[in-house]
């Protein structure tokens, strides 16, 4: 039985490298999922090695779209939002399902597409040390697109692609060296991500309220001394009214008398402090000089240890 691996990850970059030894792909904003197919048995795992086989029935019919006796595919499961753009919030409605009997219903509400960009194993043979261009050729050979399966296209003109991504307000692009191997379990600079917008995972340390309910949540990140710094506040963002309300109810239960932040948020009226427990994914434009986020918007609640919401993790992960 194939043992799940930790996937290769790109390194953040601010510049697009030049040269014909790089290709560019769209960075699809979703959930990283690897598919392990061995004849009859199919398993799906995310990058933290949590099994997701039963969450995405659309992609477990491997023989319907992949011509191989056995295969490991790497890609991103995405779902489109109402603006027809990939929405992390939407895909989390599928990925976060706890009671699996909900899957068939949610499958109709939130259809997903598997954007496949790599193949690591085929017909009993590991391919990860082969150069990218060879793996992509094999990928094109074995995977045929369907309603829920799309191979990620590669582009020579990274600048043109980035321009298109900006125009469509998508997450960004990934540059990959065509001769590079797939380095398992490593964040490697043979892959570079260039982001159009940024995101990070922060923990909620308080909220503000107006008549009728919660108006914003206060966000924090931990420094190396495990002190929580206030970095900004955001409203409901892409959360639905129900989700925002439910979040408010949970937060109300974890109210504490003292601020958990080492620095004082400017606004102190109508604020309640909460035990930092709930990590959230935040999309933002940039950091200000004062260590706070410009234009933060709430994307989704995420499953993560609150103490892992650190400045360090943030600069590495996004």
């Amino acid at each position: 039985m194939l043992k799940p691996i930790i996937p290769m990850e790109p390194v953040s970059s601010d510049i697009i490298p030049q040269g014909s030894d790089w290709i560019a792909q769209i960075k699809w904003d979703g959930v990283r999922i690897l598919t392990y197919f061995e004849g009859h048995k199919v398993r799906l795992y995310n990058r933290r090695l949590r099994e997701r086989t039963h969450h995405y029935p659309e992609i477990t019919e491997v023989s319907a779209y992949c011509d191989a006796r056995s295969v490991i595919l790497d890609g991103e499961v995405i779902a489109l939002g109402s603006d027809a753009k990939p929405s992390f919030h939407e895909v989390m409605r599928r990925d976060g399902i706890r009671r699996l009997e909900q899957v068939p219903r949610m499958q109709k509400l939130v259809p997903v597409t598997y954007m496949i960009f790599d193949v690591l194993f085929r017909n009993g043979e590991w391919l990860h040390s082969r150069p990218l261009q060879e793996r992509l050729a094999i990928l094109a050979e074995v995977v045929k697109p369907t309603d829920h399966i799309q191979p990620v296209s590669s582009h020579a003109n990274a600048h043109g692609l980035f321009e298109a991504v900006k125009q469509h307000e998508m997450e960004g692009i990934v540059l990959k060296q065509v001769m590079s191997p797939y380095v398992i379990g490593v964040k490697h600079d043979a892959w570079l991500k260039i982001k159009n917008y940024r995101d990070l995972i922060a923990v909620i340390g308080g909220f503000t309220f107006r008549e009728g309910g919660m108006s914003a949540v206060l966000l924090g990140l931990y420094d190396e001394a495990h002190r929580l710094h206030f970095i900004g506040q955001t409203g409901a963002g892409t959360l639905t009214q129900q989700e925002w309300k439910a979040l408010g109810e949970v937060l109300r239960l974890s109210v504490i008398p003292e601020s958990p932040f080492v620095n004082k948020p400017k606004r102190q009226a109508n604020v309640r402090w909460v035990r930092p427990m709930i990590p959230v994914k935040i999309k933002y434009a940039e950091w200000t000089a004062g260590r706070s986020l410009r234009q933060p918007t709430l994307q989704a609640l995420v499953e993560m240890a609150p103490e892992a919401c650190t400045f360090r993790a943030e600069t590495q992960q996004t």
Binding site: I15, E90, N157, K195, D223, Q242
Partner: protein, 308 residues
């Protein structure tokens, strides 16, 4: 089934420790009320019309309206003082014939099962009641209220039915328009009616009676779920990935036509902060890359960036 009460049956000098389970349940399809605009479940807010604001649970007290608009305030302490002593026992007072109790008295049924040490005494009481054919009249305190109950045998279990107190059963004399017993009836009509009853007589088989309306409601809901006629979801995305990919393709072509294939036009970094070191605690993303890779990027580009 979950235990709703723990206590004992006390019967003469014998105490049988038991657990109690609700024996019946309503299976009605429950609906929630939603706001038709956004499908959010309606919340009930408790408000005070005088103060014109929502009222917290801690601000609410109990009042008995002894006449319109006039109240006696009854506090928790007041109630505690008169709450019957919770003896945690179903006290059997008498044994009577089941037929002596009209079904109108029955309120709610509970199964009783013995706790660890009570099995033998439970079996003994059950068998004795079976042989005598009698049922017990008992008293117990349930939810701060003293109740009257009947203890009887149902299959392998001892069953308890709470019953109404006599003054809780409305007098039949209050029912209007009941014909007197000595109304004259034609003999042939009466014999026809008796004949009809005879023909419709059968033995009671509860399984043949089902709640058709409930069944149909369930089917209706199933169908709506299958047909995606589901509220609450913000309209399922009509667009698909293929459309998006097509749109992207067109944008790339347009960008190329506009001459975007040179880095001179590039501005990838939305955060000037990274470059000036304002991003907290860690190195800006671009600086930890090995020199080997950087040689693939043009100097011209770097100059352009630091210049802006």
């Amino acid at each position: 089934m979950h235990t709703v009460w723990k206590g004992s049956i006390s019967f003469g000098l014998v105490n049988i420790p038991i657990r109690m389970f609700t024996a019946t349940e309503h299976r009605d399809v429950r609906f929630r009320q939603l706001h038709s605009v956004c499908s959010t479940p309606i919340r009930y807010a408790k408000t005070c019309p005088t103060c014109d604001r929502e009222v917290d649970a801690s601000e609410i007290v109990r009042g008995f309206e002894y006449e319109k608009g006039n109240f006696v305030i009854v506090k928790d302490e007041d109630l505690e003082r008169i709450t019957p002593e919770t003896r945690k026992a179903i006290e059997i007072l008498d044994f009577v014939e089941l037929s002596e109790i009209d079904p109108i008295y029955f309120e709610k049924s509970y199964y009783l099962s013995p706790q660890e040490t009570g099995e033998k005494a439970y079996a003994l009481l059950r068998e004795a009641m079976r042989q005598s054919g009698k049922i017990g009249i008992a008293r117990l305190t349930l939810r701060n209220r003293q109740s009257l109950a009947v203890i009887r045998i149902y299959g392998p279990a001892i069953l308890m039915e709470t019953i109404f107190y006599p003054d809780e059963v409305r007098s039949v004399a209050q029912v209007p328009a009941l014909p007197a017993d000595d109304v004259e009836l034609a003999e042939n009509e009466l014999s026809m009616a008796r004949q009809l009853i005879e023909n419709m007589s059968t033995t009671f088989d509860p399984s043949q009676y089902t709640d058709l309306y409930r069944q149909e409601l369930h089917e209706l809901i199933e169908k709506k779920l299958e047909g995606q006629e589901v509220a609450a979801a913000p309209a399922a995305p009509k667009a698909n990935v293929i459309d998006l990919m097509q749109a992207l393709k067109e944008s790339i072509a347009a960008a190329e036509k506009a001459g975007i294939d040179k880095p001179a036009r590039l501005k990838t970094d939305p955060t000037g902060a990274d470059q000036t070191g304002n991003k907290p605690s860690a190195a800006p993303a671009g600086t930890d890359q090995p020199a080997g890779r950087k040689k693939t990027t043009t100097k011209k580009l770097k100059r352009k960036k630091s210049g802006t």
